[in-house]
Symmetry: none
């Protein structure tokens, strides 16, 4: 793993969130906190995570229900935290698709060990193009072929994309019409966090625009949001 793994901690108790994220950060991981299932969904959409630590008891959507959703999607492994410690609940957690669980109160060291264990198991690579792997999608006058990593222009034919152009485009297509900050884009495409003078994303956007915008001086597909980031301002539809 080139980058330290990124963990999302979901718990409604602020104190637990903070102590856990701090402990994980101290032990060489990146940790982000979410306060409920809605927050979790937002964070998952906005960044890249290698594992989710999920509390069972939460206001709003239940932890078990949230876990079931994540497991069905299969994109990210889950460790459940249960305050009950009762067998039926513990078993329910596993049967629902959690990769592991831990009874509260727990030893942080043990949580860390379990996270490492689950990560080791699921350390095989992620799919290249995310949910778009193996598909072809159309937007405006272009069709992206994710297998061949090329764009097909309705008139001009094939346009090859470099790796970073391709990753950036895939990330934006998966989040069409959402405003994505440079930080988010850098996290999603390269899995790293930006330095203070980082113009990497600006540069890549510029290069990508040259390949997809009919009029580079007045970009329509990738719109700039001043002080916000960038936004793919077009509809995306799947192609047979």
């Amino acid at each position: 793993m080139g980058q330290p793994p990124h963990i999302l901690v979901v718990d409604d108790h602020a104190q637990i969130r903070e102590s856990v994220t701090r402990y994980l950060a101290k032990n060489g991981m990146r940790a982000t906190a979410a306060k409920d299932a809605t927050d979790m969904d937002a964070k998952l959409a906005a960044g890249h995570f290698d594992l989710v630590v999920l509390d069972v008891m939460m206001p709003g959507e239940d932890g078990l229900s949230a876990c079931r959703r994540l497991a069905a999607e299969g994109a990210v492994p889950v460790i459940m935290l249960t305050a009950l410690g009762e067998e039926p609940d513990r078993i329910a957690g596993l049967e629902i698709g959690a990769d592991d669980y831990l009874a509260k109160p727990f030893n942080p060291r043990e949580l860390l060990a379990r996270i490492r264990s689950v990560l080791r198991r699921s350390s095989r690579g992620e799919p290249l193009a995310g949910k778009l792997a193996g598909r072809r999608v159309r937007f405006e006058h272009l069709v992206l072929d994710t297998d061949r990593q090329i764009l097909v222009d309705d008139e001009q034919g094939e346009i090859p994309l470099t790796d970073s152009e391709f990753r950036l485009l895939v990330v934006m297509l998966e989040r069409a019409r959402m405003v994505l900050s440079r930080d988010q884009l850098l996290d999603l495409t390269a899995g790293r966090t930006a330095g203070p003078l980082d113009r990497t994303i600006d540069n890549q956007i510029s290069r990508l625009r040259r390949k997809i915008e009919p009029d580079v001086l007045r970009p329509r597909i990738i719109r700039t949001v001043r002080n916000g980031g960038y936004c793919l301002a077009t509809d995306v539809e799947e192609q047979a």
Copy 2:
């Protein structure tokens, strides 16, 4: 899962062996018992198992030691049974490479849930379950005959593969659409870890591409992921 999973239960107490194997059999699994590490090795060599349930405390070779061996080999997932229930030991079990553990005395239903959880986890990333052996698979314009270690091109006929080309191709076919780092590939094909200037995998990819890519200059089947590794970007289907 076509076949019911086959579980090997290793414990020196005859009573536990029997009750566990009986319980697993009643719940749709095949279960076999072994009374110590030596017996375990014999059973593993004689047949195929999907998971090993391993007691920590055993006469002869220690359970932790046996677990370390199995984990190093990486062929089969392990669930440890510990009579102690003490944290330090539990953590040691995970750090040694066990996929999960359970403290005695345990609820058989929970053991079953954990077995299912680990099996689900370890089968998720292996679409063909590593059991490409003895099968024939098709991808793009090629059919790989694993028995003869030969590719059959739809038009050009048979293409022989060297050992390392074959191993590399099998590993990638088993993980189609996943991005595999050079480290992972070297580990999976040769069982060793890469040095700092190791270009072995690049070289083997290059040689393999020459045999399978219609246009070597623009590879379509095995794609390079800059800073990531390689990815087999095509569907793989089993052939009768």
